[in-house]
């Protein structure tokens, strides 16, 4: 029952995280000099009008009351109303979150699909030239400014070669799929709309590559070191002695065991991808939460910023929880230890 106990403990922790995150963001948003009411009223508005808007938004109340009101709403799942868009924050985030999640997942898939084989090869041929090449590639990946890489691939693949679209999620002529999961790739398939699926796929390739390239390095490095450890183990030698082929040993014995510790790293990478999507999205006009939050910070729209922070940290904790649960399922020893 260690499993249930862990879940219970984590959910309690989640509550604390949401409380803490909302408090930190609230505090910082109010440190930023500027008056959101003035932003809505416009430059030319008189003080009277600004005051009126302040009242309408409840901005003239003491901060602790504003924060209290926010928490009360939060308890009922209400993230408040965006100052900038005048719509409920939850509604705004619902419109943007699936796009960000879809991009992050595809980027993660890309990073894993390439990073795992590269990590394995690198470990098997440790210190050989190919290992040096892979390691350099991995380090280059984590050292690349994503916004800069994004600009580069747009210029080349859209501007010069005209192979792939330069931004957005789907072609203009096509109607976006009715939201079922909110993931265009899945929704279009469910609805059997092949043209829309291909268009959605084309649109996601460049941003997912850009975002995934950084994490390719993370995955490859992690797999490499986990593999190196496994290849030292006695059972590998035993398997070899039993006459299993080299790659058979590697793929069927060493790799699966190396993946166990890597699940955590790759899972956490998803959390990082969600954050990291912010700049990539602005470069690719990807209609996710990134552009929304950047604009919100600039417009001093603190309900929106807090909503974003709360939702993302929530997702982060949940992802962690799922990863740990997977971990326990895979390796029962851990539940005994903790």
């Amino acid at each position: 029952m260690a499993f249930l106990r862990m879940i219970k403990k984590r959910l309690l922790g989640l509550l604390l995280v949401v409380l803490g995150v909302s408090f930190i963001t609230f505090a910082i948003s109010h440190l930023i000099p500027g008056d959101p009411a003035r932003l809505i009223a416009g430059d030319k508005a008189s003080e009277e009008i600004v005051q009126n808007i302040r009242e309408q938004l409840g901005l003239n109340q003491p901060l602790y009351i504003q924060y209290g009101t926010y928490l009360k709403g939060l308890a009922t799942g209400d993230l408040g109303t965006s100052i900038r868009t005048t719509r409920p924050v939850l509604e705004d985030l619902k419109a943007f979150f699936p796009a960000t999640l879809e991009l992050s997942l595809v980027a993660l898939l890309f990073a894993s699909a390439l990073g795992i084989p590269l990590g394995v090869i690198s470990a098997v041929y440790k210190d050989k030239p190919i290992d040096q090449v892979v390691r350099t590639l991995a380090v280059t990946g984590i050292s690349t400014p994503a916004f800069w890489l994004g600009l580069g691939v747009i210029v080349v693949f859209y501007g010069k070669l005209g192979l792939l679209p330069g931004g957005g999620r789907i072609d203009e002529g096509l109607t976006p799929p009715a939201a079922m999961t909110g993931f265009y790739l899945i929704d279009t398939l469910l609805q059997g709309d092949k043209a829309a699926f291909v268009s959605a796929l084309k649109h996601i390739l460049l941003p997912a590559f850009t975002l995934g390239f950084v994490h390719l390095g993370v995955v490859a490095r992690q797999i490499r070191s986990a593999m190196l450890e496994q290849l030292q183990e006695d059972y590998i030698r035993t398997a070899k002695a039993n006459g299993t082929s080299k790659w058979g040993v590697i793929l069927h014995h060493a790799l699966p065991n190396a993946l166990i510790p890597s699940v955590t790293v790759i899972g956490l990478a998803l959390g990082d991808l969600l954050y990291g999507a912010v700049l990539t999205e602005t470069v690719f006009a990807w209609p996710g939460m990134g552009a929304y939050v950047v604009n919100s910070i600039q417009a001093l729209d603190f309900p929106a910023v807090m909503g974003f922070a709360v939702v993302v940290s929530f997702a982060y904790v949940i992802v962690n929880l799922i990863v740990d649960m997977l971990y326990m399922l895979i390796d029962p020893r851990i539940s005994e230890v903790s």
Binding site: N52, Y158, G167, F284
Partner: protein, 524 residues
């Protein structure tokens, strides 16, 4: 631990499959090159940012008006003569109007057969409802109207406005986006917040869908009483990055691209199938000088800055010649413009002499700006360099736009930069806003300029109706504010937009930047 765990083995296989599948799919995609032009009858407009709110009683942002302006009608509209927008007005919903001799009561008669997009008629009640709703909201758009203005229905097709004191720009303000007439039945049924995300007007187009952060789709209002638009659909596409907007225009994925930097426009105009349309506008860029405190409160220091500004370098270099140096506050194209008004020019010797004779000698100045307009930073750097050569240190502060406004609003700066464009066609928008000491701070007088003589002149001008008399008063005030260097009057800029060559009939109106006349534009 010995052999592999079944779950893990499955995962490895899945990973292998995924890798293979993605490789195959991407290979297939790359081979199929297809970048089509936009469909016929559909106009695709690329904008930098998503609209924030579509409620005409709340929005003061031109970026929102791209959608709202064609979705609603107003009593009055700006005339288009020979395919060009003007500062003259004509009736839109109104067939005609009368005003009392003292300018305090105005009566508007509505045209017959005007309908909202649900088929219901536009009545005098709807007009009254819309104005009262806007005034009651008390947000940005209400600023243009006297708050004690009364709106009455004198007959089912006549509305009467009653003002308490004369307000000469009144007629023009009725063409503002904030004066849009909304469908009362829809607001009552859906709730007032509904208009933030949808349209309910009688204009030629209506909003049919909005994918947040991505695109908005407008289609003709089937009940529109005016001439039927030739376009079947208008798509507003949100593309934050200027380079991406330009590429999409060049590749034919956009028909119109807004907000392109000067240097990009210069290269686009050389590409086949693309034109750059340039229109003289009333948008000006100017420097605020803090008249109230610090070194800039000395008139000699302000004059020195005016002489230490590289006007022609900025216009030729930064703006690629797409601008004209201002002559005082009233821009060319607005009535009241004075073609003989004095202009400062770069004169370092004179500036040096003025600085030496001022109390601000040896001071370090701050210059606050934001990244809202990409031209601001080069201008700030240029000012810093010329003043640096004269021994005046300038500290540049690139702030978030909201923070910059806060600093300007508190008078916490020495030099700042801003753009200004009029909401209605009246020099009031420049002279009264910029110089009346009652409008000190963000509302308009951002230099905190204070001169009782000027106050008297501009206030008198605002209370008269005779344009000749008003022009005289404004020009008289302008001479004083130029001499006292209340601001650095930099330049008025052309409005430029990138269009596909087959897009015709765009009539730009200087009061309505970012608004496209999609009801009369055509695509060949």
């Amino acid at each position: 631990m010995t052999a592999s765990h079944p779950v893990i083995r499955k995962m490895t296989t899945t990973f292998k499959l995924c890798a293979m599948a993605s490789a195959i799919v991407s290979a297939g995609l790359i081979s199929s090159q297809a970048l089509a032009a936009t469909p016929a009858g559909t106009l695709v407009i690329g904008k930098a940012a998503d609209p924030q709110t579509l409620d005409p009683a709340i929005t003061i942002d031109n970026n929102d008006w791209t959608v709202t302006y064609p979705a609603y009608q107003r009593l009055i509209r700006y005339k288009v003569v020979g395919g060009k927008g003007t500062t003259q007005v004509e009736g839109d919903l109104a067939s005609g109007w009368t005003s009392s001799a003292d300018g305090l009561t105005w009566e508007f008669k509505l045209k017959k057969g005007q309908k909202f997009d649900d088929g219901s008629a536009v009545t005098a009640d709807a007009v009254k409802y819309s104005f009262e709703r806007m005034l009651k909201a008390g947000q940005g758009p209400s600023e243009a109207f006297p708050s004690d203005m009364k709106v009455d229905v004198s007959s089912p097709d006549t509305v009467k406005f009653t003002l308490t004191k004369p307000y000469s720009p009144f007629l023009y303000t009725l063409a503002n986006n904030g004066a849009s007439i909304v469908n009362p039945a829809v607001v009552e049924k859906q709730g007032t917040a509904y208009l933030a995300k949808a349209t309910a007007g009688s204009g030629p187009f209506r909003l049919v869908s909005w994918q947040k952060g991505q695109s908005l789709i407008l289609e003709p209002n089937p009940y529109y009483a005016g001439t039927k638009p030739s376009l079947k659909q208008v798509v507003v596409k949100i593309i934050g990055d200027a380079s991406s907007r330009r590429l999409q225009l060049e590749n034919g994925d956009l028909d119109v691209a807004e907000d392109l930097p000067e240097d990009q426009l210069a290269s686009i105009s050389k590409k086949p199938g693309v034109t750059v349309a340039a229109f003289p506008s009333l948008r000006v860029t100017y420097l605020y000088l803090n008249n109230k405190k610090g070194p800039m409160s000395d008139v000699n220091m302000r004059r020195a800055i005016s002489y230490a500004t590289d006007y022609s370098g900025i216009i030729k270099g930064v703006l690629k010649g797409n601008a004209k140096q201002m002559r005082g506050a009233i821009p060319e194209g607005m009535w009241g413009f004075d073609p003989k008004a004095m202009q400062y020019s770069l004169n370092l010797a004179k500036a040096k002499q003025l600085i030496d004779g001022s109390t601000g000698k040896g001071a370090t100045l701050n210059f606050v700006y934001s990244s809202k307009d990409p031209n601001w930073e080069p201008i700030a750097i240029s000012t810093q360099a010329t003043l640096g050569a004269l021994g005046v240190k300038v500290k540049l502060e690139n702030l978030a736009n909201a923070t910059m406004r806060e600093r300007v609003g508190k008078g916490d700066y020495d030099i700042a930069i801003g753009n200004w464009s009029p909401d209605f066609a009246d020099p009031y928008m420049f002279m009264n806003y910029w110089f009346d000491s009652e409008k000190e701070g963000l509302p308009g007088n951002r230099s905190y300029y204070n001169n009782p003589t000027v106050d008297k002149l501009v206030r008198q001008a605002a209370s008269l109706t005779d344009q000749k008399e008003r022009t005289k008063l404004y020009q008289q005030a302008q001479k004083i504010v130029i001499n006292e260097a209340g601001y650095v009057y930099l330049f008025q800029k052309n409005y430029q937009v990138g269009l596909r060559a087959n897009v015709k009939g765009f009539a730009f109106n200087p009061m309505l930047e970012s608004v496209f006349n999609i009801d009369t534009m055509v695509k060949r």
